[in-house]
Amino acid sequence: MALIARQFRRYSIMYVLLLPGLLYFAVFKYVPMVYITAGFKNYNVLKGLWESPWVGWQNFKFFFEGVYFYQIIGNTILISLYKLVFSFPAPIILALMLNSVTSGGFKRTIQTLTYLPHFLSWVIIYGLMVAFLAPGTGLVNQLMTAFHLERISFLTEPSLIRSLIVGTDIWQSVGWGAIIYLAALTGIDPSLYEAATVDGASRWRQIWSITLPGIRNVIILMLILRLSAILDVGFDQIYIMMNPLNQEKADVIETWVYRVGMQEGRIGLATAVGLFKSVIGFMLVLGANRLAKRFDGQIW
């Protein structure tokens, strides 16, 4: 007992320092988890959370059986898969390209410029899209008119919205994402390349047999991290780029939750769908961590 008391006294200042932080997490992260109960209630704004009547799984049933279900889940998974297939390898390719650049100044300049979009908000990026793609005044449409081509309403065309989402995602994140691969590349022993050159291996052969295996662990770890967040498709980005005309191809779980909950006021239903997403996401992270243990140790 005396030992515990002495320990506690020794660390008492530490506990005092820790308290505000723990309090923050308790109030702003754990209390909302209590509000999840709204998903099992017929939430009534006037009655508030505690007085609203319980309805069991009714909100979930309504969502699963609703006409929107397949569209929203389909959009979420499709956009996520497109990002996985196109956005994920992009920084690796950029890192490989930068790595083969021999001029240090050129390399630094390209890096500095390609990081830049990472610092821009999606609202600003949407502003740039308006500058280039707006139907009347956008640069691309002006060019198309100059070449006597039909104007395209890029920002409202449902068949183009996913390409725009993935394309701007690559543009925004490719330079930033390359940093980690570039760091991994510097860890490869240069004598391996010298030996390969002596053996007459071509540049491509060297990339295939030395470079890629050298950064394999980083690639796998990044891939696993990515898989664990497969339902987080980039709410801020999609929300600003979506409009009633292209919504059918862009609406994902979170944009739907926001619209149904905040604009239509169906709090119970929206909370239930948000919970559904959180639970699936949680299971994906646990699965990913188990996978990661086999490679570069676990994520946390």
Binding site: Q7, Y11, I13, M14, Y15, L17, P20, G21, L22, Y24, F28, K29, P32, M33, Y35, A38, L94, M97, S100, V101, T109, I110, L116, F119, L120, S121, V123, I124, Y126, G127, L128, V130, A131, G136, T137, G138, L139, L143, T145, A146, S153, L155, W171, V174, G175, S202, R203, F235, D236, E254, V257, M262, I267, A270, T271, G274, S278, F282, I299, W300
Partner: protein, 290 residues
């Protein structure tokens, strides 16, 4: 490079060209935005919108967005958010990271689990909104600061940094009679300037760029930050920009839109050259496991 074969030389040229093109796509949009925002509409029409370097300069678009004081209010709201928000974020992040970095702290692993769990599972948008509403933060500038007080991921980065500071210094100071707070201020913080700067920049950029929480929590137009102001202008004019007749007006919507993009982006472009080095280090620190 005499040993280079022809195909390798072609690969190299292709490589340099593609990289230059990619870098160009990251720069040209801004030049175009600024040019359109200061070019009189008559010039834009004459050149089919193909203006990259302004030939004549007019500030009417900027005057138009200055009108009514909304831009000033939006700037104030954003500056408050970035300034006060970042300081408060850093204060609480460091405060919490310090005890967590003491491996001998009894109960440490439970506290860590308590925090890490919030990174893996969350209530979602609606429960967070209900909470902010319940505690009366709706329409308050603090609603953009308090709910994001500590980013668990940044907390782990700072914690890891503190952990790898040499313990010997710590012990020496304690033997010399320094208290925990003296150690924090005289030893830990001065040694942690790089990580504090990096995480501070992360917080600041996050505050500058966020728009969605403001959309959720702030209805009062005078408290809306810059990103929401820009969003409104973009969405409002997208509806009319298809109408060619609109372009005949003295202040055309596209110039106003581009002026708004410019005033929202310029501060970032101005500080970017000075901060991007620190960020690179931050990413690499962040990749160190927590």
């Amino acid at each position: 490079m005499n040993t280079m074969t022809n195909s390798e030389r072609i690969t190299q040229i292709l490589n340099y060209t593609l990289l230059s093109l990619l870098a160009a796509t990251c720069v040209i949009p801004f030049i175009y935005v600024i040019t359109v925002s200061v070019t009189p509409i008559s010039e834009v029409i004459k050149n089919d919108g193909l203006v990259l370097i302004p030939t004549k300069v007019t500030w009417t678009a900027y005057e138009a967005i200055m009108q009514g004081g909304r831009l000033t209010e939006a700037y104030q709201a954003t500056l408050f958010r970035v300034g006060v928000g970042t300081v408060v974020n850093l204060f609480f992040t460091i405060l919490t990271a310090l005890p967590l970095s003491r491996k001998s702290l009894p109960g440490r692993s439970y506290f860590l689990m308590f925090i890490v769990f919030t990174m893996l599972f969350n209530g979602g948008i609606i429960p967070s909104y209900l909470l902010v509403k319940e505690i009366g933060l709706l329409d308050s500038s603090w609603s953009l600061i308090v709910p994001g007080l500590i980013n668990a991921f940044y907390l782990m980065i700072v914690k890891s940094f503190f952990e790898q500071l040499p313990e010997a210094i710590d012990e020496a100071a304690r033997i010399d009679g320094a208290g925990e707070l003296a150690i924090l201020f005289r030893i830990v913080l001065p040694l942690s300037v790089p990580i504090i700067a990096t995480v501070g920049l992360f917080y600041a950029v996050w505050h500058w760029n966020s728009y969605f929480d403001a959309l959720l929590y702030i209805n009062d137009a005078s408290k809306q930050p810059l990103q929401l102001f820009l969003r409104q202008i973009l969405l409002a004019s997208v509806a009319i920009s298809g109408d060619a007749a609109e372009a005949a007006n003295s202040v055309n919507p596209i110039s106003v839109q581009m002026a708004s993009v410019a005033v929202t982006t310029l501060p970032i472009l101005l500080v970017y050259p000075f901060i991007q080095k620190h960020f690179t280090r931050g990413v690499l620190l962040g990749s160190v496991k927590g």
